[in-house]
């Protein structure tokens, strides 16, 4: 089969001496379609060409996507295994590195038991790799301590969706339908910056008259054109959602037939939101009453509406509650399971959807099976060829693993496709954890901040050097293609994991020659689970522009729209969220009078390990900044560009100020893509959601202090 896929009549520029290979972007959940330009004679990647006929993105790309190919053959790539000797990394052979890993892994497990090792996964890689990380931890190493960076990203949405709908698929509708919707309620999502190529659908809908309601403490590029911008205080989403529910019920916008037929708890909900009058809601959230009323009516009057949310509401100690309440807004209006309407979360990581279904989570097995369910354990054990009794028990969440390190329970760790030394909250705790570990292995293709703590760094490949699939923001399973051979001695993650498993004496469970074989095994592993991939094949993906899971059989068309008939809960009904108001884990005090909130900028992706190495992106945004309202700035006598010291109960840092009226007067925003002394996550709160174990990145109490201007600015390492 050709590696270049384009529909008839679509014109692409084919330069002489080059070929195009069809794939998707390596960054966020939009998974924008693109062709990579490869020089035919040298095999080198030379550029990018838009994939005009990819239905989700129509050839569009954000600056990260346009420059993504530049990370493939980058000068900073790690091309050989690195072993730390006397504090310095030394290039070595694979044999040497594997010997060392085998020796230390075996030693630690002999000394402190199987669970002395841990695996920290990530979801910016293909389904095949994500699936294998789970199998590697549980079969290869036999440890219970397995978790992944989705805990900092998607787990609240997952928790909320499972409680409400019984299954966690990020979007209940395909995004190509968005343009036909009449109203969008976007909470805590700066989609214009974080998922730029999604904005075309909102703008298209807006051209047809759709309305946009955005809840965000900042007037983001998304909120800028909103019909109503609900500029709420950080951490007050559950109050806002309850307030909206109150108005929807009071003004008679409830789809009574739908609710009585398909939802539980309506009476409880009604009673619960009774006290959330616009005045009370306004008092908690800081949003003007008029805006609340206007928003509720615009939302309530729209025949088709979509409620969407992202990290803004999920990365809170009430993340799951927020998701349940916002989802209930759509349920009350009877929107879920219908055309151009529903509920969606914006998946942050490239394979954030697929990666969380395949058993990288401490308590989950492939296909959303629960580790606590004996039948599931039995089924997966049979696929993996192990005895069910060998299956480790559930472990702890990502952030809590560092607590286990502190306690001495975890002594060795393998970090794969993740950079918690930047992306985890309360970083000093994380850094101390890494230092305390007896043995740390990191697989990465750039020397990340996490990798710099490692004893052994294994050179992994980028997304463009391996075949595979990912699952995008909509739940559409798509195909990633190999564009070039691995650079230097780097190997794809699945090969690395298999090699280590072999050294640990589990080689017979990891006999893979290519990614396709893993996909076939994992189709089988998901068969009958909630996230059923059994009917999806690589051929079908090419033919059908991707296939939506669940897809239980090869003749099943896939499921673009979820919950058309019933929900995945036991009784088939959705559970409306009944949650009262609770303060955030940390609220402003006299000493720490302001809110600190964190987020992304359009030019960087997650911990910035990749995007901080791309010239164009660094030219646009070289360092973090503290965004604040001029009214706040003048209280501290700060001018644009002045250095300011930010302090929370955990730590402090110094950044430049950036002044704009497009933010609340009591809130400071800092993007989190930088490491070491530029990492705002040194300051963030480690308060976890009780269900999803998601840290509260979005709300901290902050103290601010002006610093005398330094001439040279910030120095970076």
């Amino acid at each position: 089969m050709s590696d270049f896929i384009a529909k008839e009549g679509i014109q692409n520029l084919h330069k002489p001496g080059e070929k195009l290979i069809t794939t998707h972007c390596c960054y966020c959940g939009m998974q924008c379609g693109m062709h990579i330009r490869v020089n035919k004679s040298s095999g080198k990647v030379v550029g990018v060409e838009p994939r005009y006929d990819w239905p989700v993105t129509n050839g569009k790309m954000c600056p990260k996507g346009v420059t993504a190919y530049q990370t493939i053959d980058h000068q900073d790539r790690i091309t050989k295994p690195l072993i730390k000797k006397n504090g310095e990394f030394v290039e070595s052979s694979w044999k040497e590195a594997l010997d060392l890993i085998e020796k230390n892994f075996k030693r630690l497990q002999e000394e402190s038991g199987k669970d002395a090792l841990s695996v920290f996964g990530g979801v910016s890689m293909t389904n095949e790799k994500c699936y294998l990380v789970g199998k590697y931890a549980r079969v290869g190493l036999g440890t219970r301590y397995l978790d992944y960076n989705g805990r900092f990203c998607m787990s609240s949405a997952a928790g909320g969706f499972i409680q409400t709908f019984g299954v966690d698929r990020g979007s209940t509708l395909p995004w190509t339908e968005l343009e036909h919707s009449d109203c969008f309620f976007l909470a805590g999502s700066n989609t214009a910056e974080c998922h730029p190529t999604s904005i075309q659908w909102f703008w298209k809908a807006k051209d047809k008259g759709a309305k946009l309601i955005v809840a965000d403490p900042r007037e983001t590029p998304t909120a800028r054109v909103a019909d109503v911008h609900l500029d709420l205080k950080p951490g007050t989403d559950s109050a806002l959602a309850n307030g909206m529910l109150h108005l929807i019920i009071k003004e008679g916008y409830v789809d009574k037939e739908y609710v009585s037929k398909r939802c539980n708890n309506f009476e409880e909900l009604k009673q619960n939101v009774d006290k959330f009058t616009p005045e009370y809601t306004s008092e908690i959230t800081g949003v003007a009453v008029e805006k609340l009323i206007k928003a509720a009516h615009i939302y309530g009057m729209s025949p088709r509406s979509v409620v969407m949310f992202a990290r803004g509401v999920e990365q809170q100690s009430k993340g799951v509650d927020n998701v349940r309440l916002y989802s209930s807004m759509a349920l009350l209006r009877g929107q879920v399971g219908k055309f151009a309407s529903g509920v969606a979360t914006f998946t942050g990581q490239g394979n954030g959807q697929g990666g969380r279904e395949h058993g990288q989570k401490s308590d989950l097995l492939p296909g959303y099976r629960k580790l606590t369910d004996p039948a599931a354990v039995e089924y997966i054990s049979s696929i993996w060829g192990i005895d069910p009794s060998e299956m480790p028990k559930p472990g702890v969440s990502a952030y809590e693993m560092f607590g286990e390190i502190e306690k001495g329970n975890i002594r060795g760790m393998h970090v794969i496709c993740s950079n918690p030394a930047v992306s985890a909250p309360n970083l000093e705790h994380i850094w101390n954890g890494f230092k305390k570990l007896d043995f740390l292995v990191v697989s990465d293709f750039f020397l990340s901040e996490t990798a710099s703590f490692a004893d052994v760094v294994l050179p992994a490949t980028t997304w463009a050097e391996d075949e595979g699939t990912t699952t995008n923001i909509e739940g559409r399973v798509i195909r990633i293609r190999k564009v070039t051979d691995p650079i230097g001695e780097s190997k794809p993650d699945w090969e690395i994991l298999s090699l280590i498993a072999e050294r640990m004496g589990k080689g017979k469970h990891f006999l893979y020659n290519e990614a396709g074989e893993i996909f076939d095994e994992f189709r089988l592993a998901t068969k009958g689970g909630k996230a059923d991939y059994y009917g999806i094949t690589w051929d079908r993906i090419d033919r059908e522009n991707g296939v939506f899971w669940p897809c239980p059989a090869e003749d099943h068309p896939g499921t673009p729209t979820m919950f058309e008939e019933s929900f995945y809960t036991e009784d088939g009904k959705a559970n409306l969220g009944v949650v009262g108001w609770k303060e955030a884990g940390e609220v402003p005090t006299k000493d720490y009078p302001l809110f600190l909130t964190t987020g992304r900028v359009v030019f960087h992706y997650l911990s910035g390990n990749q995007t901080r190495r791309v010239d164009f992106l660094m030219e646009q945004c070289p360092e973090p900044f503290a965004e604040m309202h001029p009214a706040l700035a003048s209280r501290y006598q700060l001018e644009d560009g002045d250095m300011v010291k930010l302090k929370t109960p955990r730590s402090h840092m110094t950044v430049k100020t950036k002044i704009t009226k497009a933010i609340r007067k009591d809130t400071v925003f800092v993007p989190y893509h930088w490491g070491k002394e530029l990492a705002v996550n040194q300051l963030t709160s480690d308060c976890l959601d009780p269900i999803s174990r998601m840290p509260e990145f979005k709300v901290c109490a902050l103290q601010m202090e002006k610093l005398p201007a330094k001439k040279e600015g910030i120095t970076r390492e």
């Binding site: 014109q11 692409n12 520029l13 330069k15 550029g47 990018v48 838009p50 005009y52 993105t57 050839g59 569009k60 790309m61 954000c62 600056p63 996507g65 346009v66 420059t67 214009a192 910056e193 730029p196 190529t197 999604s198 904005i199 075309q200 703008w203 298209k204 007037e219 983001t220 590029p221 998304t222 800028r224 054109v225 359009v602 030019f603 164009f616 992106l617 646009q620 001029p630 644009d640 950036k658 002044i659 704009t660 009226k661 497009a662």
Partner: protein
């Protein structure tokens, strides 16, 4: 070439994908030739993209003492010919839209050429291809007319029809290569 470039400023989300993409074009030497700017960051996050209008009678070419700025058969106004450009920068001051860029070191002017290798085959220029917000589009003349009609209120400033000589003042958001 039958298509034109069409800008709708308020759609812009300021992601600068167009600029990143501009660097990818053939012969652009990894330097962008378009602009994305904040209207006023202190007030709002509104940005706007700006590119060459590909005037029929370009002021930049008219003020060039070396006669270095050429127009292709399709009507694309090219960067100053490297061999002729004397580096006076008259074009950057003559252009009513502030488009041409000048590289002092290499002594050459460079400007948007609508990704000539793409647009001459009716393939959208890179900026219009990637723009996630459709703020920059590469569309048929008819489609442009429709879009303009939709926004009629904006375009009929003072009820006059723009002329070539004063189009900077009246011209709505369309420009590029078209015939009427």
């Amino acid at each position: 070439m039958n298509k034109i470039m069409y800008l709708e400023f308020e759609r812009c989300i300021g992601c600068r994908a167009c600029q990143a993409a501009c660097r990818e074009c053939g012969d652009h030497d990894a330097k962008e030739r378009n602009y994305v700017e904040y209207v006023d960051f202190t007030e709002s996050r509104q940005t706007y993209p700006m590119l060459c209008m590909q005037c029929k009678d370009p002021a930049c070419a008219r003020v060039c003492p070396a006669n270095a700025i050429q127009i292709t058969d399709e009507g694309v106004v090219l960067s100053a010919m490297e061999e002729k450009c004397i580096g006076c920068r008259n074009c950057t001051f003559g252009c009513p839209f502030g488009i041409p860029k000048f590289d002092f070191e290499e002594n050459k002017m460079y400007k948007c050429d609508m990704c000539y290798d793409r647009s001459k085959h009716d393939i959208a220029p890179m900026c219009a291809s990637v723009c996630p917000s459709d703020a920059i589009r590469f569309i048929d003349f008819d489609e442009m007319q429709q879009l303009r009609r939709r926004r009629s209120q904006m375009n009929l400033v003072e009820g006059k029809k723009p002329q070539e000589g004063n189009k900077w003042e009246y011209v709505p958001e369309f420009f590029g290569v078209y015939t009427d």
